[in-house]
Each structure stands twice: as C-alpha cells, then as structure tokens.
Symmetry: C2
Subunit: 434 residues, 2 copies
C-alpha cells in the first residue's frame, strides 16, 4: 500500500480538531512535503485548563484562546477550514463537512469531548457545563447575575437561593470552579448594599469518596482542606439525581439553588460513532497500541477522543492536555517518517510520560502530584502559576501579554466581570421601592 | 417646594443610565447625604469611543468596560440596580422597572441613544450597528467569519462578496471602523491560503458631501486622504436606499457585499417618549437652559438623550462623551447644592466647553480639531493615543493594565481575533475537495 497512489497530488493529512492533540500533530508535519488540512468547528485553539478562570471573571476569552490561523500562519503546507466534520467514511477515505467530501491519505481524529449528563439531558438546561469559550461566558453571566438578583430580592429564602452555587463534580474543573467562585464571592462585599456576598454558599457535590480522585489520596485530602478554608461546602457520597430550575436533588436532600454548574462527566465527540468501529462506554474509540484504528493504519485517534493505554504500564492514558499533546507528537512523527520514506515504518507503541498533575483551588492554594512528589498550598500554587505562565508565553508568543496577565492575575483583579449576552436578564423579582 | 417633604427618609436621586453622563452625575453626589439609585440595563459602564476596536478585534471587551458596582464600590450612598426603566411618571415622581415603582426626589435621565435606521427597520437585520459590547462582538464575528467564508468559496463573484465590507455612515464611528477593517485585512495575508486578504474592499458610504461633517473641512479632507491611503473606497453623495442580505443599493448602484455595517444614525432612548414632553426629531428631550424638563425642575436630561443648547453660543451640545460628562457634572452640582441648602438655588445656564474633536483612522493616522488647531497624521494620532491611554488609566484605575493595553495596541497586535457566539457559522459554501 502506497499512501500517494490514489491521488496524483501531494499526500494529504486531514486533522480533525484544533485542540492540544491536533495542533501538536500539525506542528510535527511542518517541514514535510505534504498537504495538511486542519478542520475545526471553532476558529480558535483554546487553552482549556484555564477556561474556569474565564467562567469566574479573572481572565478574558482572548487571554486563553489563539486563532488557529495565527498559530499556523507560517506553516505554509497547512490549510485550515472552519467547519464541523459530520462523518468519516473509512473505506472511501473521506471526511464530510456540510455534506461535502474532503479526501485524506492520513486521518487524525482529535475532536475531543463534550459534557455528558449521563442520559439526564434535562440537566443540561439548568446546569451548564464548561467546554467552550461560549460556555465560559454563559457561566460567567449566570454567576454574576445571581448577585444582581439577590441584591433586589426581598424574600429571604429566594435571596438565599440566589446566593447558593452548586458545582456538580469534584474533579479538577469542579474544584477549581468551586474555589474560584468562593473567592469571588468573598472579594466583592463592597459592591452590594443589600447583600452580604460573604454569606454566599458554594457547594461542591462529588458522588465518590473524595475529590480529585485521579490524584493520590494525600492530594485529595489537601484539596479538601483548602476548599474548606475558602468556605466551600463539600458533599461526598450522594449522587445528584435531579437538576431542577430551582435546585438539585442530592441523595435524600433538596438544595435550593438558582445556580448549578456541571463539571461531572464528559463523553467523547459523537464523530467516533460514524466510524463503525469499537467504542468504549464514553464513546471513545478503542485504539491500537500505535493509536491507530484497528484495520486502518492510516487513521489515528488521539486525546480525549481515544481510549488508549500506556504501552509501558497498561494504564489508560488520562484525558488531560499532556495526553493529547504526547499523542499528537507521536502520531505526527509516524506520519512524517512514513511520508518521507514513502512506506510504512515500524511504529512502536505509544507510551505516556506522566509529567504530573496540578489543580489550583484558589490564590496560594493548590495541589500538585509530580512523579510521586506531593505538594500542596503555596508551593503547589507557585508551581502551578509558573507552569501556566510559561505555557501562556509560549502559547501566545507574546511576553508582554503573558506578563500583564500574570500581573493582573497575581494581584487578584477580576477585570472581566462583565455580563454579556442575552439582554433579558434573569432577575425574577423586580426592584422594589424599598 | 421642599425636596424632602414627601418621604420621611433621605432624599433620593434616581439616575437612569450608567454611561458617561450618569456616572459623572453620581460622582458629584459622593459626599452628599442622599440616597442615590443608579439604574442601568447593563452591569457595566462602557468606554464607547473605543468600541470599534472591540468590533475590529484589537481590544477585549473588558479593556473598555468596567462593572458599575466596581466603579462605585466605595460610594456607600449609591445603590445600583440592573434593570431597564420602562417609563417615567413625572406627576407621581416614580420610574418603573419591570412594572415596579422606584420613587425619586430628583431624577436624572441619561439613557443615551440607540441606532436609527430611519424607519428602514429591515436594514437592522443585515447591517448591525455598534452601541453595546454585544454589538461589537457580533460585528467582530461577522467580520472575521467573512474571511473564513471566502477561504472556502470557489465561485469568484461570491468570494468577492465575502471580501467586500460596506460601512454606512461617514461620522467618526464609520471612519474608524472602515480604517480599522482595512488595516486588519492588510495585516493577515499569511493566515489564508486561497484568499489574498489584501484584495478585500472596504467601502465607506456617506450621503453628504464629506466625511466627519462635525469636524472642520480641513479635517474632513485629511481624513479622506488617510482613508484612501489605507485603501478604503469612499462614496460621497448617494444615499443607501436598501440593505439586502446580499448587498446594498446605493443611488443607482448595487454593491454585492456579505458584510454591511451601520454607522449612520442614532436616535434617543425611547424612554423620552413616556415623559409626555416635547421631543426633537431624534426623540431627544428638549430641555431648559439648566438641562431640566420644562415644568419639572427636579428632572434633568443629559447626554445623548437631551436636545440641549450651549447657553453661550446657542449651538447644540454635541452627542459626544464630553457633552454627557459636562452635563452630568453640572446637574450633579446643582442637586448637591440644593440638597445641602435644602432649597432651590439659582442654577445658571449650562455652557459646553469644547475640548476638541479627535478621530482615528488607523495606526499613525488620525485627525484632530482642538479649539481651532487642526492636526492630522501622526501628531493627531499621538494626541489621540495619549488622551485615550490617560483616560483608560483613570477609568480602570490600573496602570498595569493600561500599560499592557497600550503596549499591545501600539505594537499592533490583534489578539482578540476570536469568533464567539452562534455556532451555526454563516459559511454558505461548504469546503470542497480542492
């Protein structure tokens, strides 16, 4: 099988998704004589680990997003298309965008994941999740509006519900959101006249036995303590069975809350279903040790869309940025080598290098698990800040901006406290003549 | 008449609108023993003169907007309400928000203006205007998407329409938008593979004889030349009679364009109509020399909502930030004095101090008319930059942010090139297998 045979043109690599995995793959092909097509439904690459900071008004959307075209403006062999891939025809070697085919010689699927409400889709309406910039500004809108609603609410129970924030899911995103929301509430008491924002309740619900279950027990305990210190109430054990407009049912209890946010589960992009190959329970494609699709060595799946195993340990590759980046690098190198040699190469198996796990709970509060070293509190937070600032510098290629961001963030400003979007704000109780 | 008689409480000043005028009024009352209620339908104060920079992706929304609560967090006599005032009952001395009354002793209306399509409301659909942050991100979305659409368009005429940007209205906003759009188009050729963004046409249509008609002839000429230099096509004379989905009818000519933006006319907030007093053609309230409403000395109208005359020259007070700020200061001082003395005072008449007019056309390109001194090109642009940076420093009270903004802006980055909002992007022609 020759990868150039079917088309009398340069071979073409189609990459679906401009996240960490897709971008890493494309960069590996920078100097290869190949036609790279990167397709994404958004025009930007998103630094998702900081998305919760947009949702909690610390950062601006453009601080953590870069136009895909800008990233690749100098990579002349890459063409980017704004569009959603609807299905893949493995036999014909084509993907379809709005019904139109795009042929490929190699295909890399890196379409990521979306929220999963575990079949409970009516939860979606009342408990927005956090995956895109639009999700983040929507959560920010809901979050900030609830203080406005509380300010003009005269019924005490209703006022309390306005000031009750429930975060469902105790993974990194849930912990980070809950911590940040508690911090915001405590930092703006002077902004309101009829509300003591310090009385706001932030409740984190995690159905398992501990928060941050992908971290070691020690880190979970540290995160728990730090969240408590910030005033977050943590409910471990009971599962949320219903999300209603006016609150959540959690075990036997009903919690009245106007603000419920979803950080509990993800499922893979539905694109995997169109492949006709084996998927796992979350809809991820079960891939070969070289991350290819069984029977289709020219098709790879990486990042959150893949169910992959680390060849060395046998452990599943985690759904984090590093998993996607390393997968993209690995796959990009294989494709480059095969195209340069014009033949299949011995690929080896994908191994995941765990650089460590970081989660931030608040200012000066974080947990880190770096190859067995467990840190918490300020040292963990300092590492977290340095890692992310370094990354942003690289990411945005603009030291000045990263510096200003760091400055602003370290000083604790919440400069992005803007309510945009729908103008039919959700204040139910009108202001009274009190 | 005693302003405290009706309510056995502190006198109350209700201010409608948190723009330049409303904020200036409120600040004058900082130390007065009074209950100030500021009502706005948005939670932020907007630095509107730079809104076009958000629309053209140079600045982030939060660079030019500040939460109203943050501005007044230390002014404890001020309470702010997020809501839209629907009508005013001058006799009962109440304004209504969602049907609920808010009483006042003094009322200051500073609700501003909105777009006017001169009765041609179907234009609104195809030619968005620029008044709010949401308008700005919507224009940014439309503007950036059109390059994406052109990239995948194969029909030459359709591709040209994607790359044709029409700005209707040659006032400061229109000139600034047109100039910035031309600059953006010329600065991103490397981002695209099938489109030469430098071939994009930006067409500015002004029905009168010159652009910037509120400026002296000399400045208009300079602006005209500078826009030409940036490659903007300027059509003077014919009026746009129809805005369609596929272009505009301008005089005898039809211009095919997927992107039409409205910068032609404004009308006053419809709130004025509920007063039952005399309005001018644009719906502005015709006020007394002290900016009060005839027969209601405790009700003032300022800024874009007022049709006021400079008592010294008899000229109309222009609808610019300075007009609103000076009106707010003037009115705030009257109210303060009258409340402190607990009686009506001799108010004098409002005079407008014209600090000058500035409009920026592009980097190093601007025109200025400062009390008779006319500047253009770099000197005018430099003044423009200094004035606006100074203002932002004051505005955001954060030197670091203003500095970073200045840095970013002076270096010419367009960091905010993000398409957010509706995900059903407007690309009509799907990507082909070319």
């Amino acid at each position: 099988m020759n990868m150039k045979s079917k088309r009398n043109k340069k071979p073409r690599v189609v990459i679906v998704g401009g996240g960490f995995g897709g971008v890493a793959t494309a960069k590996q092909l920078k100097k290869t004589d190949v036609d790279v097509v990167l397709i994404d439904r958004r025009n930007y690459h998103l630094f998702q680990p900081l998305l919760y900071q947009v949702a909690t008004a610390a950062l601006n959307p453009s601080d953590i997003a870069a136009p895909i075209r800008k990233i690749f403006r100098k990579q002349k062999n890459l063409r980017s298309i704004l569009g959603a891939v609807e299905n893949v025809d493995l036999e014909a070697r084509k993907v379809y965008v709005k019904g139109q085919p795009v042929s490929y010689d190699y295909l890399v699927l890196a379409a990521g994941a979306t929220h999963s409400y575990f079949g409970n889709d009516q939860s979606a309406e009342h408990a927005p999740g956090l995956k895109t910039l639009d999700d983040a500004t929507e959560i920010r809108r809901k979050f900030l509006l609830s203080f406005e609603a509380a300010e003009v609410e005269t019924d005490e129970a209703a006022k309390e519900a306005c000031l009750t924030f429930v975060v469902i899911g105790g993974g990194p995103t849930g912990c980070e959101m809950a911590g940040a929301m508690a911090e915001v509430a405590r930092s703006i008491p002077d902004d309101f006249r009829h509300v003591d924002t310090k009385t706001a309740r932030v409740i984190l619900i995690q159905s398992g036995k501990r928060v941050l279950k992908s971290f070691p027990q020690e880190s979970s305990d540290a995160a728990y303590d730090q969240l408590k210190e910030l005033g977050v109430e943590i409910k471990l054990g009971p599962r949320v069975t219903e999300v209603r407009k006016d609150g959540v049912v959690c075990g036997e209890e009903f919690i009245a809350a106007n603000n419920v946010f979803w950080a509990a589960g993800v499922k893979s992009s539905p694109l995997g279903e169109t492949l006709g190959v084996e998927l796992d329970r979350s809809g991820r494609v079960i891939v070969e040790p070289d991350l290819s699709v069984t029977g289709h060595p020219n098709v790879f799946v990486i990042g959150d869309q893949a169910s992959a195993k680390d060849a060395k340990t046998g452990d599943p590759v985690p759904g984090v940025a590093q998993g996607a980046i390393q997968g993209g690098d690995y796959v990009g190198k294989i494709i480059r080598k095969e195209l340069e040699d014009d033949t299949w190469v011995e690929r080896g198996e994908f191994t995941y290098f765990d650089k460590g796990n970081l989660a931030t709970i608040g200012r000066n509060k974080a947990v880190a698990d770096i190859r067995g070293f467990k840190l918490s509190g300020f040292p963990a937070w300092f590492i977290w800040a340095v890692v992310h600032i370094m990354f942003l510098v690289n990411f945005r290629s603009k030291i000045s901006v990263a510096f200003s961001w760091a400055w602003t963030y370290l000083l604790g400003s919440r400069g992005a406290r803007l309510i945009t979007g729908k103008s039919d704000y959700v204040i139910k109780q009108p202001p009274e003549d009190h």
